[in-house]
Every structure is written in C-alpha cells, then in structure tokens.
C-alpha cells in the first residue's frame, strides 16, 4: 500500500495529466458533481457520487459507428474508428467500478464490441472507497463492498492522506507513473476507516434490502404480477433512470445526414421510451406498464438468468435520487419481494 498526503493530491493529478488524460469528479455550478478533464486548479468534488455514472467513459452517450459517402447508386463505407488514447479516471466509486464488469459481460462477449473494447483497454480506473455513504446507497445488497472497491487501483481517502493499492497490471503501471510522490506504508488508517464505514453501512435505510427473491428463472413468477400496474402508474416515461444508471446499456443506431455524407452513430436508448420497440406493424410493449416492467425484469430476472446470477444493478442509488416521481428499483424490489414472502 502507498500513501500520499492529501495536500499533495494536486501534484499527483498534475503528474498524471502530464502523461495521460485525467478525469476527476468536480462540482458543476448547480450543485451536482460530474467527471471532467482535469486541468490546473480544478478541485475534486467532495460529493459521494457524480450525477451521471462513469459508464460514459467506455460507452459514451453518442458514438460514431460508420460513415457513408453516397454518389449516385454507389455507397462507400468509411470506418471512423481510431485507437483511443490512454486515460485515467480518478475517484470512481465501488458501485460504478462493479458496473464496468456488468457492461463487460455484455459488450466483451462474442461478438466483441470493438468500440467499447477500444476504450476499455485504454482506460485506467482509480477507484475511491466510500466513507460517507448516503441514504440512497444499497450496493451491499448486490454484494459490493464500498470499502474495498475494485478497479485497477483502489484508493482510500482519510482526513490527511490518500492511500493506494494496485489491483491489476494497468494499476501497477499507474502506481509506477506517480511513484515519485508516493511512499510505502501499512494500511492501519485504512483499516480503521473500513471498520467505521461498515458500521455506517449497517445503519443505512436500505441495509436490509435483499435480492434473494429475484434472479434467473423467476420470469413466470413476476411477469404477470398485478403489482406492475400500481408501480408504473405515475411513470412519466422519461429516460432519467436509464441514463443515470451505470449498468443500463441499451442503445439505438441512427443515421445523420450531414449534407455531404451519412454518419451512422449509436446513442443511448431507454426501454422506458414509447418508441423503443415500435415497429412498422405495431409495438409489443404498448403501455408504460410493459416498458416499466421490462426495465426491472431485465435488471432483476433476465440479466441474472443469462449471466450467472449477477444482477444488472449495483445499488448506486442514482435512480432513487433522480427519478422525477421517485419510483425506483428499491420500491420495486420491496413491493414484489413482499408478494414473494406471502
């Protein structure tokens, strides 16, 4: 384990940014935190989490897929892909770090998504352990330990120091990059922080939320539940929950006519949108109830069924905080789970 005094953190950022592009969470004007490219004088946000998740780095909201040039009846295809530059994301929380594994299991299975892979290979993730979890956190429900975050390098921040531990080869490389500022140390302070945080975790409002009632093979049990109508009745059909969710990965492919060619790009899409499954001849998910159900069934049943009982939720709590009508996965789990208990 390595240590750096907190006041030297800016030097560490500067040193990192000399070699690679560095992104850190920083406060925006209106009270939310967001990842931004570091530049001199930028302050790291004190907030627990960024408003958007960190999935943008690997799965950006819009991304060029292919360009076409059209002349008469001829079509030329232009591959716009370029090798991504190396970059470092500093301060990713345990929940977001876990979400990368979930995205990996979608994008990095055969056929591998080369766009995602390109970014993933060039990104180094420095995670930061949580010490002040918020009321909307429930990562422990999905067996995530916020005091021991995954990622290439794990970091812990105490009142006076920041501690680092490399977990992967990429992480070792990063530590080597900034080693001139680091000193080796034992992790006594870190252990103390972990104990304190764990105590707080036990007191969180969702500490007792259990995922056991869900998982693969439960489609029949929940699909027809009468509770969906009640849960979805106030849903506005916006895409807030999906877009702030670190694990939502649905996308749309669209063409844009630039006037001198066609750019085909992909962009985030939301299963909550009415046109998500709309086809020329009809729509299998006609009302908001079906769309709402799809989102949660996917996270709690379909995904675990296809991916060894790993859930497509990391308990980051963003949907809990951001939903305009305060409907969220916790409420769904509690409501449907109750039914199960009966």
């Amino acid at each position: 384990m390595y240590r750096i005094p907190r006041e030297k953190l800016d030097q560490l950022f500067a040193l990192t940014a000399e070699k690679e592009t560095l992104y850190i969470p920083t406060d925006a004007t209106s009270g939310i935190a967001q990842f931004k490219k570091w530049n001199e004088g930028m302050k790291m946000s004190e907030k627990l989490k960024t408003s958007r998740s960190a999935k943008d780095f690997f799965f950006p909201q819009t991304e060029a897929l292919v360009n076409f040039k059209i002349s008469g009846k001829k079509i030329d295809i232009i591959d716009p892909r370029e090798e991504c530059e190396d970059f470092v994301i500093f301060g990713v929380r345990a929940c977001d770090a876990k979400s990368f594994e979930i995205l990996d299991s979608v994008f990095l299975v055969d056929p591998v998504d080369t766009y995602y892979k390109n970014r993933r290979e060039h990104g180094t993730i420095v995670t930061l352990a949580c010490s002040r979890p918020s009321e909307s956190c429930f990562c422990t429900t999905f067996d995530i330990d916020p005091t021991e975050p995954a990622g290439d390098v794990s970091a812990w921040m105490t009142d006076d120091s920041v501690y680092f531990k490399a977990n992967t080869e990429k992480g070792e490389k990063y530590i080597a990059l900034v080693s001139s500022l680091l000193e080796e140390t034992d992790g006594a302070d870190v252990d103390a922080q972990k104990v304190a945080t764990k105590e707080i975790l036990g007191k969180l409002p969702f500490a007792n939320l259990k995922k056991d009632a869900f998982g693969g093979g439960k489609t029949e049990q929940y699909f027809g539940s009468p509770k969906w109508a009640e849960l979805s009745e106030a849903c506005l059909g916006c895409g807030t929950c999906t877009f702030v969710c670190p694990t939502c990965q649905c996308y749309d492919i669209r063409d844009f006519d630039t006037g001198h060619g066609i750019n085909r790009f992909r962009c985030w899409d939301s299963c909550m949108y009415s046109d998500f499954t709309k086809m020329a001849h009809g729509n299998p998910r006609l009302s908001q109830k079906e769309r709402f159900r799809q989102r949660f069934m996917h996270k709690l049943v379909y995904y675990p069924e296809n991916h060894d009982e790993v859930f497509a939720c990391v308990g980051c709590g963003r949907c809990v905080e951001k939903c305009p009508i305060s409907m969220n996965i916790v409420k769904v789990m509690k409501t449907l789970g109750e039914e199960e208990a009966k």
């Binding site: 996308y251 063409d255 992909r266 499954t277 086809m279």
Partner: protein
C-alpha cells in the same frame, strides 16, 4: 472472425435484380461488389439491410444457402425503409451485415423427417429458404408438405416458383397446398384461412411442423396443430421484433431473457411457451 458482427460496420451489397412479386412485395437479389455472394448463411438466418440515411432493419434471407451466386430478400412495403427499398432499381447499392441469429435445424432435428411447412403472406420468405434447402438435399428428408395461404391469388409470394418448381411433376414427394382468403375469379384452388385448411387437410403427426406468418395465423394454426396431435417439440417458428444491433447488445428485441436476434429468430414452440407473452 466476422468483422461486420464485431463492428456493426456493414458491407456494400449491389442489388442486381428487383422483381415485383406481389402488389406490395418485391424480391431483391443482392451480391457483393465483387459479384459474389456477400454472406454465407443457413436457412432462417437474417441480415441487416440498410439504405444509409434512411434506416436499417432486419430481414430474413429468403434464398437457400445452396444458392452459390447471390442472396435474396423478400420485402413487403410497410414502413419507412421498405418504402425506400421499393423505390430502388437494379444497380443500386445498399448495405448488408450479418448473418444474424440461429437457423432452422435443417441438418439435425429436421434430417430424416417428414416436414410440414405452413406459411401465410410474406411469412413464406424465411421458410422458402428451408424449402429450397430441403429440395436441394432431397434424399435427407421425407415427405414435404407445404401449406401456403395469402389474401388473394395476386398476394401469393413466389407464385411462379411454386407453380413451376415446387409443384413440378419432377419433384419427389413435395406437396403444395395453396389457399386464399376469399373467392376470386380464375382461382379454382382452396379458399379459406390457413389454420382451418391445415385442420381440413388433417396431417399425420409423425413429422415436424414449421410455422411462419402473421401472429394471428400462428396463434390459430398452433392451436389447430395441437388439436390434431402435434406436440410443441415438433413445431418450429420464427419471430420478428424491432432490432438495431443484431448481436444481442442493444437490448430491445428480448422476449423475457431471450434475444430474438441472437437466441432466435427460430424458436421451438416449447421454448417459446416458456417465455412471457410479449411479442
């Protein structure tokens, strides 16, 4: 490694022939720029066809894999992209990527069996690939029955091919049963809906049934088949939902935990029954 699966970057296909098959269905013959067949597939598999700037959609490849020269799409005019496709002429380039999805198990589960192929309207497109594949490898299969219905005589897709090839006296043990929805002049064949016709014909149940057509036809034909004694394990069908990526990642074509583009489009009826009714 098939690059266009990994990158979503299509290849250029040249439409060499466009044939008006029925008033609202056209048949498109597509080759690569090199004049050769652009993709290799198995019966039932699909490909993403696109006109850049207009859209991209999944269509089943209706030609048989045994056709070494080109692939064919049978496309009904019903939306934005298909309207455009219906406007193009031979020589126009389009883009294709694929093949996507699974195929009918023509070489395993179907081999050595009698086949009953039931289609309605443009639903003949995916199973035509099966029919022609089986006719090509005629000795691998038993008796082949084809029940095909459409709204009218003019709406019967591949009518010439059916009459001249499938119903040709040289065909061994291939029986085509055509039906149309309503009486019309110069039609002396059967009149009535496909599900009823299937029941009237009353097949023996020692065979495999392949179903494709509008949802309502599938629903009633399925019930009819079960009535005459078919089990769900003997029935195959193919689904179609909105698709964007074709590789099970864009997340919209799922029925329960199965993605139609990746785990389908061909499903055995018993597999399908386990999935929620959302297609």
């Amino acid at each position: 490694m098939n690059m266009n699966l990994e990158t979503l970057i299509p290849i250029v296909g040249v439409v060499t022939e466009v044939k008006q098959d029925t008033p609202d269905i056209k048949n498109f013959r597509v080759v690569g720029r090199d004049g050769k067949k652009p993709i290799q597939h198995m019966p039932g598999q699909c490909a993403m066809v696109s006109i850049p700037g207009v859209g991209e959609a999944m269509f089943s490849i209706t030609s048989s894999p045994t056709n070494e020269d080109y692939i064919e799409f049978e496309i009904k005019k019903c939306g934005c992209l298909t309207n455009w496709l219906h406007m193009i002429e031979a020589g126009q380039e389009i883009t294709v990527r694929g093949p996507y999805g699974n195929a009918f198990p023509v070489d395993d589960a179907f081999a050595g069996h009698d086949l009953l192929i039931i289609a309605g309207g443009v639903g003949l497109a995916p199973v035509r690939s099966v029919i022609n594949y089986c006719r090509h490898h005629r000795d691998r299969y038993g008796k082949i029955d084809i029940v095909y219905g459409s709204r009218s005589k003019e709406d019967l897709a591949f009518y010439d091919e059916i009459i001249n090839e499938w119903m040709s006296p040289d065909e061994k043990d291939v029986h085509v049963h055509l039906t149309i929805d309503r009486e019309q002049e110069n039609w002396d064949g059967h009149v009535g809906f496909v599900p009823n016709y299937v029941k009237e014909l009353g097949f023996d149940t020692d065979k495999i049934a392949i179903l494709c057509g509008p949802p309502i036809m599938i629903k009633f034909t399925l019930a009819g088949l079960k009535e005459i004694g078919f089990s769900e394990q003997q029935i195959y069908t193919t689904l179609e939902l909105k698709m964007k990526c074709g590789v099970g990642k864009c997340g919209r074509c799922n029925v329960g935990s199965k993605y139609v583009c990746k785990d389908g489009p061909v499903f055995r009826m018993d597999e399908l029954s386990e999935l929620p009714d959302e297609y």
